[in-house]
């Protein structure tokens, strides 16, 4: 390590765009295959019984059974960990299973979580209805109520969870401040950063400890494959207090192993895999992992286009006669505009919520008449997607529940794709014209 062996003192580790293409994979270890191979197999040969025992005892690294790990999936895991600046990652069959595994790795019956109220509806149901069946209770707090997170922490609280940008209202959690609240209480902050991808925001740089993605969305990007992932930041000290015996105490399932002592900055992922994947088994298929890897190769290129198109749509909608309001962090009067600039310097994402004049009927007419934009229950596709929550995904909610979820009858959720921007606008004009018709009729 002498001076003559080093040329300058600047790290030459690979940058984001390079990692998007290469991280996690070495061709020379895979028959020279330039593309990541799809290891379509359930299981892996042991060299001998000693090798088998060593793998089961976590004495050595390697693959046993594709429910626990798979070489193609492992490339994806390393790639996302590298992009996020994390120590380790565990890919799952969907974003929901990633959240579930994270919670079950962290909590036991009798534990409590503080959770942002502005979440994807499926996530709300998991925290509100399903986790209580396992004895895990949650307190919901509005994402902008930073002090509310602090007040909601109880003795048995094991973590704070939220979406960085809330679904569908685009409220932004003050991640640095909420991370400080969590850390002052000796608990981790878990952030679902699906809407951002690591191209727009790296939550570990703002204090998050566990990052979760539905890879199905922008990361994969093409609307073809379900996948999720949890990523570990590696900074959280599980041994700082006695709140996390499942991480620190000897674990009977592995000969008294203490995950925190043995694996330190990767302890959470090791436990989530060794226990969670073993017992719950929401594994990602190698084919879907490969599909997601293809998407990640062009992540930065796509995200730039998603964001520039979204910016154009914000301007277009903001000045449109048929639009009552527009919610996107780029709108100057958005309550979190300044926070968004700080947390999302590369772009504020491509999710827009807007209110259509004419309320629910107009919303239905708009959705039924656009041709290019797809009406479906997904976001983050390369194609433009729209949905009218009050008549679709949330149609069974009563008024109070709609209001609590930040929804209104006139709201349309727009996931801006990467088509030509003029074509998107022209399509919306068709939708808006149709939306105005019922009102014209009723006025006569």
């Amino acid at each position: 390590m002498s001076d003559k062996d080093k040329k300058g003192t600047k790290p030459n580790t690979y940058k984001f765009d390079t990692l998007s293409l290469h991280a996690g994979y070495q061709p020379h270890k895979n028959a020279g295959s330039r593309q990541v191979p799809i290891y379509q197999t359930t299981s892996y040969l042991f060299d001998d019984v000693d090798h088998a025992a060593a793998l089961f005892n976590l004495e050595r690294g390697g693959h046993i059974y594709s429910r626990i790990s798979n070489p193609t999936v492992a490339v994806l895991e390393e790639r996302v960990a590298s992009l996020e600046g994390g120590t380790a990652a565990l890919a799952t069959s969907s974003g929901m299973s990633a959240i579930f595994l994270a919670v079950m790795t962290l909590c036991e019956a009798g534990d409590h979580l503080v959770v942002s109220s502005q979440l994807y509806g499926g996530t709300v149901n998991l925290f509100r209805l399903t986790l209580p069946k396992f004895g895990i209770k949650c307190t919901f707090v509005k994402p902008r109520d930073t002090e509310g997170f602090k007040k909601a922490i109880q003795k048995n609280t094991k973590g704070i969870f939220g979406e960085l940008v809330g679904n569908p209202g685009n409220e932004i959690m003050n991640m640095p401040e909420i991370a400080k609240i969590a850390h002052d209480a000796g608990i981790p902050l878990m952030v679902d950063a699906t809407y951002q991808t690591p191209y727009l925001c790296k939550p570990f740089e703002h204090g998050a400890d566990i990052v979760i993605h539905s890879l199905t969305k922008w990361m994969a990007g093409h609307g073809s494959s379900m996948a999720g992932i949890l990523v570990e930041g590696g900074k959280f000290d599980w041994m700082q207090n006695d709140k996390f015996p499942t991480m620190t105490a000897p674990y009977e399932g592995y000969h008294g192993l203490s995950f925190a002592e043995e694996f330190g900055p990767t302890a959470f992922t090791m436990k989530a895999r060794a226990e969670g994947m073993r017992d719950f088994g929401p594994c990602l298929s190698p084919q879907n992992a490969w599909n997601v890897l293809q998407g990640i190769e062009t992540l930065s290129v796509r995200m730039k286009k998603h964001c520039s198109n979204a910016d154009e749509m914000v301007k277009y909608l903001s000045s449109h006669e048929s639009v009552a309001w527009v919610s996107h962090p780029n709108v100057p009067d958005h309550p979190d505009h300044e926070l968004a600039k700080k947390l999302l310097p590369n772009g504020r994402g491509s999710m827009i919520a807007f209110g259509i004049k004419g309320g629910k009927d107009a919303g239905v007419a708009f959705i039924n008449n656009v041709k290019l934009a797809s009406h479906l229950a997904n976001v983050g596709d390369t194609r433009t997607l729209v949905i009218h929550p009050a008549s679709g995904t949330h149609s069974q909610m009563d008024e109070a529940t709609l209001k609590f979820a930040g929804l209104s009858h006139d709201m349309i959720r727009l996931s801006v794709g990467i088509e030509d921007i003029d074509d998107i606008k022209n399509d919306f004009e068709i939708g808006f014209r149709a939306a105005r018709k019922p009102r014209l009729v009723s006025n006569q």
Partner: protein, 274 residues
């Protein structure tokens, strides 16, 4: 497990098995600024195969108490005290990087206590890049970033961790940042830079010794490792291709295979001591 040396608490991983005084002892000594966790893919194997393992956190590092020791000689003496503190008269030593300086010096000082010596990414001297040393002593996290860059070969930079899902450079970086950088990495780097006795110590070593070197090691290049090995009587050398300084993680299986063959031959598990 935890025990005390010089009045300070010492943490050592026992590789996932209870510490057993009736099994031969292997002590693993980590590199600059790192912790016992670098050895996880060696210690667990030996612990499950008839050995008592101690992957130490040096004083002031990882989960150990006290302050970091300021010289390689002090660390060598401290290893000798560890052997006594856990009730043993002898041990096999395995060192990585700075740990090689420590274990070479310890073996030279305490020839009756040390039965085999395994060196990974070792050299007779590790003079430090002055800017890197300054960054570490000034608590600048850039020192860790530079160390992680230079310490890793293709597996570290591209990926392909033997444990599915783990990413080398970020994991190593987080280990090195787990305590205050200037108090661990800064003190360790200065100790390495000051140490001048490696080649003389090597000449005194008469026990079975193995050097595992890696072709892409920028921190302790193969030629430096060979210089040291040439001075140790009967020393074996094994060179791993396409691998960097963090060979114990980057090519954990290949390292384990070489280490296993060497230790089981020269310090067999069936041998009951103490």
């Amino acid at each position: 497990m935890k025990f005390k040396v010089d009045g300070h608490e010492v943490y050592a991983s026992t590789g996932g098995r209870p510490f057993d005084k009736n099994k031969p002892l292997i002590i693993f000594v980590h590199g600059s600024g790192l912790t016992h966790m670098t050895w996880v893919l060696q210690t667990r194997y030996f612990a499950f195969h008839g050995y008592s393992c101690l992957a130490l956190d040096l004083p002031g590092h990882g989960l150990s108490g006290g302050e970091s020791l300021k010289s390689i000689e002090d660390m060598a003496d401290w290893i000798s005290k560890v052997i006594e503190s856990v009730g043993f008269k002898e041990a096999s030593l395995v060192g990585h990087s700075q740990g090689c300086l420590v274990t070479v010096e310890c073996t030279a000082r305490y020839p009756d206590k040390i039965k085999t010596l395994s060196l990974m990414g070792g050299a007779g001297a590790i003079p430090m890049n002055k800017e890197l040393l300054s960054l570490a002593e000034n608590n600048d996290p850039k020192a860790v970033d530079l160390m992680m860059d230079w310490a890793h070969g293709p597996a570290g930079h591209f990926g392909g961790h033997p444990v599915p899902g783990l990413y080398h450079i970020n994991t190593g970086g987080m280990l090195a940042k787990s305590r205050t950088i200037k108090n661990t990495l800064g003190v360790d780097f200065r100790a390495c830079d000051n140490y001048k006795n490696g080649f003389e110590a090597a000449k005194k070593i008469k026990i079975p010794t193995l050097s595992i070197l890696a072709t892409d090691d920028k921190m302790c290049p193969v030629k430096e490792g060979k210089k040291l090995a040439d001075l140790i009587e009967g020393s074996k050398v094994d060179i791993i291709d396409n691998c960097g300084h963090m060979m114990l993680l980057e090519e954990a299986d290949r390292v384990l295979k070489v280490l296993k063959n060497f230790i089981t031959k020269n310090y067999p598990a069936k041998k009951v001591i103490n």
